[in-house]
């Protein structure tokens, strides 16, 4: 995922043009070509989705540096509480340090992703059920001290 960060905008544009049927996107930086399959394509498309700021006013937080929470291991993401089925996080939601943000399930082993500190969810990069790589951006927190 890391190597694609720099192409994020280009990718979003390409996928927006191609729509949901884009099976594969190819970018070239000259020497090499980068091909992105469905899986990564979906992940990246999300960054282009409009972000709503409903529950909390973030205008004061603009100067604060956002905190990127990354995926701790390959697997499928779940943003739902596995007992209640309710969403764990929503954009704009206030989060406490240690609070469960997501579960990553791989080969029947589930890993909990917790908030590194208090904050507000500014952006979520993947959708519930998506497969994600190690170190992929999961969500962005605006820290609150």
């Amino acid at each position: 995922m890391i190597r694609l960060d720099r192409f994020q905008e280009l990718l979003s544009t390409a996928l927006a043009i191609l729509g949901d049927n884009a099976g594969r996107v190819e970018l070239s930086d000259g020497r090499r070509r980068v091909r992105v399959g469905r899986l990564l394509g979906q992940v990246e498309t999300d960054t282009a989705a409009p972000v709503s700021h409903e529950s909390v006013d973030l205008s004061a937080g603009d100067a604060v540096e956002a905190l990127l929470v990354r995926v701790p291991g390959v697997g499928a993401v779940s943003f739902r509480d596995n007992r209640t089925g309710r969403p764990l996080v929503e954009v704009g939601q206030r989060i406490r340090a240690g609070q469960t943000l997501a579960f990553i399930t791989a080969m029947d082993v589930t890993t909990k992703v917790t908030a590194p500190r208090d904050g507000v969810v500014e952006e979520v990069f993947v959708e519930d059920g998506d497969g994600v790589e190690y170190n992929a951006p999961l969500l962005k927190l605006i820290p609150i001290s």
């Binding site: 995922m1 890391i2 190597r3 594969r24 020497r31 090499r32 070509r33 980068v34 091909r35 992105v36 399959g37 899986l39 990564l40 291991g73 390959v74 697997g75 499928a76 791989a106 080969m107 082993v109 497969g131 790589e133 190690y134 170190n135 992929a136």
Partner: protein, 448 residues
Amino acid sequence: MFKKILIANRGEVALRVIRACQEMGIATVAVHSTADADTVPVTVADESICIGPAPVTKSYLNMHAILTAAKMTGAEAVHPGYGFLSENETFARLVQKSGLVFIGPSPDHLAKMGQKAEARKTMQAAGMPILPGSADVLPDAAAAKSIAAEIGYPVLLKAAFGGGGRGMRVVRAESELEPAFLQAGSEAQIAFGDGSMYLEKFIEKPHHIEIQILGDRQGSVVHLGERECSIQRRHQKLIEESPSPFLNSDQRAKMTEMARQAVARIGYEGAGTIELIVDESGRFYFMEMNTRLQVEHPVSEEITGIDIVKEQIRIAAGQALRWRQSDVTFRGHSIECRILAEDASHDFRPSTGVIENLHFGLGPGIRIETHIYSGYQIPATYDSLLAKMVSWGLTRHEAIVRMRRAIRETVIEGVPTTLDWHTRVLDEEDFVRGRYTTHYVQEHRFSG
């Protein structure tokens, strides 16, 4: 045939396998650590998945992450390359349990050949000669004497838990055996806390020669000739060639056919290599079997024209070999130089850095297998192999002069490499005459 294969490796071998898949119309998934995100195999694969951070235990040895990546991408088979998990029985079983195909032999064969003693017993039963020696720990000097008398001097005394030459003695006459046994035993006791000793036939001028084998699930086995791998230091091969300049055609025919039959007897499937130690007179002994693709497989491909990686994939997909032994033809001679990011003038000290200028000599009879490019940052975490330069010629002489010429045109700047060392060897008389043993590297030290 598989629609998608995941390659559980990195570097030149990952690229090698991806290329084979592409040529077969099979989609590829490259898995990689964060350190390898910008590498060529990741770029040319159809899909790529980052499976963990740089340390191999968390990425390329992380079975769980690799299998998850395979599941996520819908890969139907896993090619392990060489090294890493390629000979790991547990991994092979996990791959199978996940409903995927492990491109390699059965887990049982991996297990059997993974243990040296077990492997020798199995292959001896299958008809391969084994280096004569004490099967078990020697109770006393008298027992040592009786076995030595049987197998003939010189013999090698070896500490059961030894290493680095300690607790080891070459004994050339019976009169020297008892004192050597006692000395080595007490040396081993002090160094390793255990004085147990073995004894085996000592080979003065050994050759490391190996036989490339392909076996299918239908029970057919062919060999692709032998490879001479004696140019090595501390078991790290530096130059390999096929055919071996040391063997005559009778010796060659005998050892390749014997290996082929032994492999057929144990019901092995996939690509494998029978490693032999060969003495001055051409007597050979089974040492071990490598149950995977070898780094030096290209030299066998060059002389037979058979793509070993594609055959591995076909065999794993259940296809029968398309040749009987008599259909396999051998033409010319091939040499491989492993160009390493190592400083040969400082005892092959590994180096890291950024490849600044890169240009390979190409042209007739030259094949390059590499994942590096101009601007490539060599990660400190992995091995030092930068490129395999492979030459082919109608004769051994032509293979040598083509390799010399290609290396002369090659420029790799930014890190010390073994290019100069390889150039020296290719000009050195013993190498040119094909007269070398596994002692070659230590006997021929070239000043920087």
